[in-house]
Symmetry: C2
């Protein structure tokens, strides 16, 4: 299989921001109190600085995430990887800021109307990696400690 | 956006087995000793009953997985989800069965020749879920306790 030449880190940052803006779904990792790891797809909205996600508050993923202040998720495909690590705030129906729930509803759906109460998660990225094939493993770190490196 | 009608569970099983056979990459969840969850793409080989994966033994994912006897991973896309939970055996360069490493090498690459020693993981699926959109959430469980339900 032919492998494309590696992108510059500037190009990766541009591609990454476009994916944040136009993509909808992330693969979110979480772990329960016993350290068992789970993976689930969650939709997101990116506002230019933070991600908002939502899931059923009482679900396994909802409970796992609410118990933590950090999260890691992947966006894209396995040969076009973006991995985001971020700090995370959790909101319930009672505590979610209206503008946050409105922004989620505007792009996705109004989870406030779901039959089961949602939790909302606001994620501030602290570390971002992006790579396609092995020839992009060098230079895959785009953000560290919340600061873009490019 | 138009949503296709839900597939039958028989069709989902057929689609799932085709993906196992022809796909190459999975999103693998793992957690460290502190219960922090991670996600990483790993390549796999499916032999009709088990998956074989490999990563660098000393990597974060390699160490996280080796410390556990179960694993969960996703195959496919966020709107064409297959989630597999399985029991897992871990092998090192010293313990990996030759036929297992040969099968991995035949489809992917010979990790035994990698500069950093690999770990191999043999996963026996115990639970499989498959769905595309929300209209397929019902009936998404295809395997439970290692037995196909369809």
């Amino acid at each position: 299989m032919d492998i494309a030449p590696p992108r510059s880190r500037q190009q990766r940052k541009a591609d990454t921001l476009a994916r944040f803006e136009h993509g909808e779904d992330a693969w979110v990792a979480s772990a329960d109190a016993n350290g068992e790891a789970y993976i689930t797809p969650l939709s997101y909205v990116w506002d230019g600085a933070t991600f908002v996600m939502s899931t059923v508050e009482a679900s396994l993923t909802g409970r796992n995430l609410a118990a933590r202040g950090r999260v890691r998720f992947a966006i894209g495909e396995t040969r076009d990887v973006i991995i985001v690590e971020g700090t995370m705030e959790t909101f319930t129906l009672a505590t979610v800021p209206t503008d946050l729930a409105d922004a989620f509803a505007a792009k996705l759906w109004d989870a406030r109307r779901d039959p089961e109460p949602p939790a909302y998660f606001r994620v501030t990225p602290r570390r971002i990696q992006a790579w396609r094939e092995v020839n992009e493993l060098t230079g895959r770190l785009l953000m560290r400690d919340g600061a873009w490196l490019v």
